[in-house]
Subunit: 227 residues, 2 copies
C-alpha cells in the first residue's frame, strides 16, 4: 500500500520511518523539495537535516505535497498547524477526495512566545477546518497528543498503557484508523471521542501538554484515561 | 480550623461534607440563603435540595458569601464559573486578602448548548482573572479536572492512581494545597504545573473531559500523567 505523508519534520519522519520499516511504500511531501534537500544544518529544535535522515531511510521517497497526496492511498497530515491548510491546498482537492486523511497537526501559535497558545480553539478546531475545506476527504484526528516517538512506539512508555483519542465523522474511516493505531503502531487503549468536532477536546490538550513538558522536563509522557 | 466554602452545589457539598467529617468547622456560603433553604425539589442535575443534604450534615453551617469568607481561614471557591467573580465580590476583598483561596471553578459556557465551551481560555483563565481581581489572595487552582466525588475520594478509582494538578503564584500556598490534597483527600500523584497562568492548561482540559463523559457514559474517570 502507498502512504502519502505531508510534512518532513519530526512527526512526518517518525510516521514515514515506521511505515517504511513495516514495508509500506512511503512518499514524504514537502513544500520545497530542493530547499529541503539542500539544508545541511539542524533546525531550531535540534532535528538533523532531512538529507541525513533520508540516508538512513533509503526506501522513503520524497516529492512535493501534490506528489505525496497523489500517490498516497492513505494520507497523514504531519505539517505544523499554521501550514496545514496551505499544504493541503497545494496537495490539491482531487488528491484528497475519498481518501483517509489522518490529521496529526495542532493549531499551535508560537507568535506570543512559549508556551504556545492555540490559533483556533473552543468553538472550532483545526480538524474541523480541514474537514470543512475538504468535505470529501475522510478526516480523522489522532496522534496529536503525544510526541513523535510515542506516536509510532507507545510501548516506550509504561508498556503502552496510556490512551490515544480518535475524532472523525466517517465511522468506517475511524475504524480503519483504530486498526492502524493498533496493528501498525501498537496502541492498546484507544477512545473514540465522536465526530470531528470532538477534535476541539484533543487539540485543547496541547496547552497542558506544553506545561507538563516544562514541569516534567521531558516530552516523554502521555495521558491515561483511568476509568 | 474554620473552612469557608463558596457555593452550595455538588462541589461545595462534597468538599464541605468531607471536611466536616474530618472534624473541621465548615461554613458554606450561598448567594441567597433563604431561597436555598426554601427549595424542596432536586435541581436540573438531579441533586437533592440543599436542605435535605444539610440534614445529613448537621455540623455544617450556612451563611451568605460574606459570612463564609469572613469565618473561613482557608477558602474554597466551589461556585460555577459564571458566578465566581460575583460571588467573590459579595464575599468582599477584606475577607479574601492574605488567605488561601482554593479555586475549583471552571469557565464553562453552557449558552451554546452541550457540551459546554469555555468563556475564557487560551490567553487567559478564570484562575488568573480571580488572582488579578484579588491580588492579595493566595489563589491556587486545583481539583477542577475531576467530578465532585473523586475530588474528595480519589481512591474510588484505580486505588487513587491518577493525577491532580496545581497552579498558583504563591509557592507556600501551593505547598499547603499539596498537603491538603494528600492528607485530607488522599491524592497521591500531584503535579505542580507552575504559576497561575498554567490554570489555562487545566481549565482547557474541560472540553475533552465533557466529551469523555459522553463517550464513556460516566463522569467517574480521571487522567493519569504516565511518565
Amino acid at each position: 500500500m502507498q502512504i502519502g505523508i505531508l510534512g518532513s519534520g519530526m512527526v512526518g519522519r517518525a510516521i514515514a520511518g515506521k511505515l517504511s520499516e513495516l514495508g509500506y511504500d512511503v512518499v514524504i511531501g514537502s513544500r520545497d523539495v530542493a530547499a529541503l534537500m539542500a539544508r545541511t544544518e539542524s533546525d531550531g529544535m535540534g532535528n538533523p537535516p532531512f538529507g541525513s535522515w533520508l540516508q538512513n531511510h533509503p526506501a522513503v521517497r520524497v516529492g512535493d505535497f501534490r506528489e505525496a497526496a497523489a500517490q498516497g492511498e492513505i494520507l497523514f497530515n504531519c505539517t505544523n498547524g499554521r501550514g496545514a491548510l496551505d499544504a493541503l491546498a497545494q496537495a490539491g482537492e482531487a488528491h484528497l477526495n475519498n481518501k483517509l486523511l489522518i490529521d496529526i497537526s495542532n493549531p499551535l501559535d508560537f507568535s506570543q512566545g512559549m508556551p504556545p497558545s492555540l490559533f483556533v480553539s473552543n468553538n472550532d478546531s483545526l480538524g474541523e477546518q480541514i474537514q470543512r475545506a475538504y468535505p470529501k476527504a475522510k478526516v480523522v484526528k489522532t496522534l496529536n497528543t503525544v510526541n513523535a516517538y510515542l506516536m509510532v512506539e507507545p510501548t516506550l512508555l509504561a508498556a503502552g498503557d496510556h490512551t490515544m483519542f480518535v475524532s472523525g465523522d466517517d465511522v468506517e474511516a475511524k475504524a480503519q484508523v483504530v486498526n492502524i493505531l493498533r496493528e501498525w503502531f501498537g496502541w492498546q487503549d484507544i477512545i473514540d471521542l465522536g465526530d470531528i468536532t470532538t477534535a476541539r477536546g484533543s487539540e485543547m490538550l496541547l496547552p497542558i501538554w506544553a506545561r507538563l513538558w516544562a514541569a516534567l522536563g521531558t516530552p516523554m509522557f502521555s495521558l491515561k484515561v483511568v476509568r
